[in-house]
Symmetry: C3
């Protein structure tokens, strides 16, 4: 099982210029959604935080990009990853399932990611 | 597997009047315990946070109430949920087990909930 | 499955003198690594936080010491526990695996620990 957790102060992330190149981290669809959010900076930080938690939950896998893990929200506003490219292939091949949960409050964003093996049928 | 995480600034939750109707969220026994806690506001926030994390960890289930998930503490002060009503029936029918962990510090409360399937014997 | 989560304000932990006796919590190797860290106080808090999360994730086990759970970092800087003494024996006997993830930002440290049973071969 893989486990990843990330906590980020939004102000600290902004001061550290951690979000200077958002297109390294986010797909055009993610950036469009973030720009329409009530607080774009906080949404950018939340997306960054979720991807950091995913990175920590996975073993070293060569050749994937941050944009291969696209963060979507379902009808209940719950976040989930849609995977692309090499990362999608790797996860399918290994039979790994990824759960993500995300929260923000008081100027912080926080994420937990758990990677489990799907039961083989 | 279901995963839920919630982080709450206690001051922000208070300002947002998120706790105005505590009897929607808490059973009489929970409210009695909270009122005896060293910091009732923080305990109220912690209970709210744990239930938010549970909500995120579960799929959409119709007809349950926040008071169906009662937060208790065991002899080691570890939190655990005791379930009632439709939610209890649903969890038993599906064979789901719920683990919760809770922390508070520096004016924040934070919770993680994981829902797993019990191994069938 | 065992689940533990801990969030700590570094300033609050320092004010509460929670770190006054670090050799109760940390091995000499951990203390040497902490003293070389860019921010020793934050590293001390992170180690404390990870061990608190571990404590919450485990059932009551008699006779282990905080120094039986030594926090190391692998080549990717990912934290993992190396266990010693009675705790190591207990985990091996039960076939339990421990995953830990750790984060710090904005004066807080936060950790999640999950204990699972390794699949029997």
């Amino acid at each position: 099982m893989g486990l990843g957790h990330d906590l980020q102060s939004v102000a600290e992330l902004e001061a550290a210029k951690g979000l200077l190149e958002p297109d390294v981290f986010f797909t055009p669809a993610e950036l469009a959604r973030i720009s329409r959010a009530p607080s774009p900076l906080e949404s950018l930080a939340a997306g960054f935080c979720a991807k950091e938690a995913l990175f920590k939950a996975l073993p070293l896998i060569d050749g994937w990009f941050w944009t291969d893990a696209e963060l979507l929200h379902d009808a209940r506003h719950a976040p989930r990853f849609q995977f692309h490219g090499l990362l999608a292939e790797h996860l399918t091949r290994e039979g790994w399932q990824v759960a993500v949960s995300l929260s923000h409050s008081g100027g912080f964003v926080s994420a937990v990611v758990v990677v489990t093996t799907a039961p083989r049928s």
